[in-house]
């Protein structure tokens, strides 16, 4: 034992010494951070994880009437201050600086000022002329520095010590005896889009931009804010940025003869005022809020990373090695692969926002498929391609579905659906099986797809409607695909290289770059890929990628034609259909096909591929807002969670289907009735909408607290009434409603339009007594495991009906005498006296009963901060019709 102890102690010491050496090496490497690019080089590396996937969320707008612009980082706020003498709907923006609200009007460089302005009194940093502030500090700002933008720069920190310790400061001089630390450099950029500068309402009578003034509500239709944490005020090393864009509502007349009409000036509204709309601007001709990142995303205070985003910035080194850099810090962002610069971008402003993080961030090698070229980080496709735009119509996902179906083909089908009217296949023949045909053939026509495809992307004006558009464009028509199992190891392989000649092996973008030879590369053949992406389903990378004999660069725009491409391994349409097969459909031989109908506004239920989990329907006491109408009436509580998150859960709407209420002693609903609620019924289902109250069908939303790794996990609750002796059945549907579908064999056009790809779970509840059926069931408990992600102890319990008769569902698993150190986290409620937590257990699916010999397994989650043992006894309750209800 002594020898073992000595050996063990020696090992520990040895390990400690080794660790010390390692840490020493790390410390030696750390100063390299000081050599990182200056602030501007990564100022635009927008904080991808800070709400960047908040695709459809627009803040409530910048409200006139004195409401604050909701920029509240580090106590920095912007106010809209209306003009009250007389109140005519005009006003001005003011910035709350350390010295109070400051007007910006005097700083606005209207026409001829030569570029974005900065507050000369706040320029600081040894550069009072403001030349440090480059006009391209947003990649999406016009590099020409046109004067339709205004930048306010403010520094804000706090005194580290001294007499003013903790006080807000912007310079060391404000901190006698100490320094001003934790500086955050704020750039608040007010912009007008080109469209608004022309005429906000397309009314020739509307004054032109030169006539506008900053005091008018619609003057700025974009407000950008960027905060940069300044680690070193000399060279700004260690800084990083987050970006938030917001829009100002366009103006409209509050009354008078032009009531409701767009306006820019009071004169536009005779007899009334020009009032800024409270809703966010449409951005139809400019940027949209999504997918621009908003620090903290939706409800930042409710999520750990949201809070972090508003208070904390990653260092570049951190960014490069995790999180954001997976997409935004890689050479992809500086490559044509992502930026698609060869297509139609005329200027920097036209580039998509993720171009912000480019090779300047430190990826000089531009080798992105090679592992370990960036500190051991292997930049693989799935980092971005599996996350970016998931759920969008043309997600360039590099993954496959469970059936081995390549997402690339999905994209191609979308592409075809949009490109060809009527839908043709790659040979120009009618492609009647294209499930996306409905997108183009429906009432929305091509716009239906455009609407879908542009749901998540930057909107841009359409400079030439005759041409194809970049696939990131609002009116995207182009989709591209990273071929699976590709052999490319560098950007060059993608961009292309000269086959022979004087420039053999050199990168090229066209044959002109290769005197005496040709330029070959993936980019030059990607249209082939777009047409035949499914070729890799056979496991063979397309040979045409870099080889001769393949189509030359078909380019974009009018030259693009799948008809010029030979697909080696065309995919069967059945494989496309398989995308929409749910397990139930597959088990029942149901083959969904797409009827020609309009896509229902991109409505989704619970973001794909999530399903509502932990759905429960329980009997509760009614809240004050929903008093019982009669004695004995009570309330039901419908609750569920979306644990995998819904980063693209744009409309906060969920769907349900409810069967007619019945008396508890009446016969059960028929199977046909139960089945009719599958997929939440036919046609447009009823909606549960997240709102301020939880009174059914309004739903309240609460973040699911977890220790780490949280994304967008919320739980939901809605409470409604249920009469005494009444029973109800309701189904909450999950899955993504891509489009309406029907099942094979169902008649058309009377076919039901399935609105969900998930059947959903049918739950029932009765307002009557519950009897103890514990003796009818066996209970098998698992042991405990502490889920380190949630910090909760998890246990599964399997209930088995030991009788020869079915037991009505739901059951209530009551945990009695639960040890005081633990709380049942996922309890449906509490029952008895003293109150014991219980979990509602739905069993038997649509049969609404636990059959003889059948089992159901449930998961219990306990909070147990003390990490001590968890003990309890169980009781199982089920419906028992009382004498009152018989």
């Amino acid at each position: 034992v002594y020898a073992f102890q000595r050996s063990f102690a020696f090992g520990i010491r040895k390990a400690a010494r080794t660790l010390t050496v390692v840490l020493g090496l790390c410390s030696a490497a750390f100063p390299l951070l000081a050599q990182l690019p200056t602030i501007h080089d990564y100022a635009d590396a927008a904080a991808c994880q800070m709400g960047g996937r908040e695709a459809n969320y627009l803040p409530s707008g910048i409200l006139p009437g004195g409401a604050r612009i909701p920029i509240t980082w580090n106590q920095m706020e912007i106010f809209w201050v209306p003009a009250n003498n007389p109140p005519d709907g005009t006003g001005e923006f003011k910035v709350m600086t350390p010295t109070g609200l400051q007007s910006m009007a005097a700083d606005v460089p209207e026409k001829g000022a030569g570029g974005p302005f900065m507050d000369p009194t706040q320029s600081g940093l040894g550069n009072p002329t403001g030349t440090n502030l480059r006009c391209d500090h947003f990649s999406y700002v016009d590099p020409s520095c046109t004067p339709d933008q205004f930048v306010r720069e403010v520094f804000q920190g706090s005194c580290a010590a001294g007499a003013n310790q903790g006080a807000i400061c912007s310079a060391d001089t404000q901190c006698p005896g100490s320094t001003c630390g934790g500086l955050v450099r704020w750039h608040i950029l007010f912009r007008r889009t080109a469209a608004s500068a022309k005429a906000i309402d397309n009314n020739p009578a509307t004054p032109k931009p030169a006539d506008w003034g900053p005091i008018y509500t619609p003057y700025y239709d974009i407000v950008d804010a960027i905060g940069l944490k300044i680690g070193d005020t000399t060279n700004q090393a260690g800084s990083y940025a987050t970006v938030w864009l917001d829009g100002v509502g366009a103006g409209s007349c509050g009354g008078g003869v032009n009531a409701g009409m767009n306006c820019a000036l009071p004169a536009d509204c005779p007899g009334s005022m020009c009032v800024a709309n409270s809703a966010a601007r449409d951005f139809a001709n400019g940027f949209r809020a999504g997918p621009m990142p908003r620090p903290g995303g939706k409800r930042p205070a409710m999520r750990a990373e949201g809070m972090r985003a508003t208070t904390w910035f990653d260092l570049p080194a951190t960014m490069k090695n995790g999180n954001c850099s997976g997409c935004h810090g890689t050479p992809f962002n500086g490559s044509d692969w992502i930026a698609q610069t060869s297509i139609e971008f005329q200027d920097d402003e036209a580039k998509p926002w993720w171009h912000a993080g480019n090779e300047k961030v430190g990826f000089t090698e531009k080798a992105f498929f090679s592992a370990a070229t960036q500190g051991g980080v292997d930049f693989r496709c799935n980092g971005c391609h599996r996350q970016w735009m998931v759920g969008a119509g043309s997600t360039p996902g590099g993954e496959t579905f469970g059936d081995g179906f390549s997402f690339a083909r999905y994209m191609t089908m979308v592409h075809d659906a949009h490109m060809k009217l009527p839908i043709n296949d790659s040979k120009g023949q009618p492609d009647i099986d294209n499930p996306f045909g409905a997108l183009a053939a429906g009432s929305g026509g091509a716009n239906a797809y455009r609407s879908l495809a542009s749901l998540w992307r930057t909107d841009r004006p359409d400079p030439d409607p005759a041409k194809d558009k970049p696939f990131l464009d609002k009116n995207a028509q182009q989709t591209h695909w990273m071929p699976k199992d590709h052999n490319f190891t560098s950007v060059r392989a993608w961009l292309g290289s000269c086959v022979a000649g004087a420039n053999a092996g050199n990168s090229c973008s066209s044959d002109a770059d290769c005197p005496g030879s040709t330029c070959r590369g993936v980019r030059n053949a990607y249209n082939w890929v777009a047409c035949c992406g499914a070729a890799t389903l056979a496991g063979t990378p397309p040979a045409i990628m870099v080889g001769p004999g393949q189509p030359v660069n078909t380019g974009d725009g009018p030259a693009f034609a799948c008809g010029a491409v030979t697909c080696k391994n065309p995919i069967a349409q059945s494989q496309v259909k398989a995308l929409f097969l749910t397990p139930w459909m597959r088990a029942n031989g149901m083959n969904p096909v797409a009827p020609a109908m309009a896509q229902p506004n991109g409505t989704q239920f619970i973001d794909a591929p999530d399903s509502p989990t932990g759905v429960s329907l329980t009997l509760v006491d009614c809240p004050a807002a929903l008093p019982p109408a009669n004695p004995g009436d009570r309330c039901f509580r419908l609750a569920w969670s979306d644990p995998s998150g819904s980063p693209f859960n744009a409309p906060q709407t969920f769907h349900y289907s409810q069967l007619p209420r019945m008396a508890v002693n009446a016969a059960d609903w028929t199977d046909a009735q139960k089945q009719s609620t599958q997929y939440c019924g036919d046609g447009l289902p009823s909606q549960l909408t997240v709102g301020a109250t939880n009174v059914f069908p309004s739903v309240t939303e609460t973040q699911i607290p977890v220790a780490s790794g949280d994304k967008w996990r919320f739980s939901y609750e809605s409470i409604g009434s249920i009469k005494k002796c009444e029973k109800m059945a309701i189904r909450l549907c999950g899955g993504w409603c891509l489009q309406a579908i029907k099942l094979a064999g169902e008649p058309d056009p009377a076919a039901p339009n399935r609105m969900s790809t998930e059947i959903g779970q049918l739950l029932t509840l009765a307002n009557d007594t519950q009897g103890d059926v514990s003796n009818s069931l066996s209970i098998l408990r698992s042991g405990f495991r502490k889920n380190l992600t949630t910090g909760r102890y998890v246990q599964t319990i399997t209930l088995t009906n030991m009788t020869q008769a079915a037991i009505p569902s739901p059951l209530s698993l009551v945990l009695m005498n639960l040890s005081g150190n633990a709380t049942l986290f996922n309890a449906s409620g509490a029952t008895g006296n003293p109150a014991s937590p219980y979990l509602s257990v739905a069993a038997g699916g649509d049969t609404l009963q636990l059959g003889a010999g059948a089992s159901v397994t449930v998961t219990l989650e306990f909070t147990n901060p003390s990490n001590q043992g968890i003990t309890y006894t169980t009781q199982i309750l089920a419906l028992s019709v009382s004498a009152d209800c018989k």
Binding site: A3, R386, G709, S782, F784, N787, N867
Partner: protein
């Protein structure tokens, strides 16, 4: 008998008594494909074991030895952590005893193409309504689990019930990695097979024998050293 020898003997007896309840034993062989972890940005990764007491009192009635690690080209790392009745390392073997409710071990590792190890465990069934449970998970750089299809993100779980029951779970790409906020890693479902052993408990027996021999040797060495130092003092007792 000296006081030291008496104390050692008491410890030995206590251990033998404690181990006398180890009537049966079994082995779980675990292997899984870890190739997806190679070079993954969510690294470094950690092998994590929990062995949590079913009855909740930390009765210490079961012990587990996890050894024979094969990292498929990878290897164990330096950073490790133990909580409760956990000790050892993946280099020499990990011992877990349910002397607390929550007993945990995790250690960094460099993933290779595969990972395999053996889990030898005693099979005393807890008196309480739930069994002792051993679980295996892989943690990412945030030291939280790579999401799996298990409710608690385990890759393998073992309930020491009668008979013992093992379950395996695949990585869940629908989950979210705590390290990168990226999607979970679709690790294939591990292979975990319980191999019953005879009623004896080889490793426990081996441990006991080793401890006994160690104690004797230690005692004899100590006695020898003592006798050399106190030859004059001890001499009278020989008389």
């Amino acid at each position: 008998m000296t006081r030291a020898r008496s104390k050692a003997m008491r410890k030995l007896i206590t251990l033998i008594a404690a181990c006398s309840g180890l009537a049966t034993a079994a082995q779980l062989q675990v292997s899984l494909d870890t190739s997806l972890l190679i070079g993954h940005p969510a690294g470094p990764f950690y092998v994590e074991f929990q062995f949590n007491d079913g009855v909740g009192t930390g009765d210490g009635n079961n012990s587990i030895l996890v050894d024979n690690f094969d990292f498929g080209g990878g290897g164990p790392g330096l950073i490790l952590s133990t909580t409760g009745g956990a000790a050892g390392s993946m280099d020499v073997g990990v011992n877990l005893t349910d002397t607390g409710f929550f007993n945990q071990f995790f250690q960094e590792f460099s993933p290779g193409v595969s990972l395999s190890f053996n889990v030898q465990f005693t099979t005393a069934v807890d008196l309480g309504p739930q069994p002792d449970e051993w679980t295996f998970a892989i943690l990412d750089c945030s030291q939280t689990e790579i999401p799996t299809t298990s409710p608690a993100n385990a890759l393998v779980s073992l309930d020491i019930s009668s008979p013992p029951v093992a379950h395996s779970y695949a990585g869940n790409p629908q989950g979210v990695l705590g390290c990168t906020n990226g999607p979970g890693i679709p690790i294939p479902t591990p292979r975990a097979a319980i191999v019953p052993e005879p009623a004896t408990f080889p490793f426990a027996a081996g441990t006991l024998i080793w401890m006994a021999i160690s104690a004797v040797i230690s005692g004899r060495r100590r006695a020898l050293r003592s006798s050399r130092r106190h030859r004059e003092w001890r001499a009278p007792f020989r008389l």
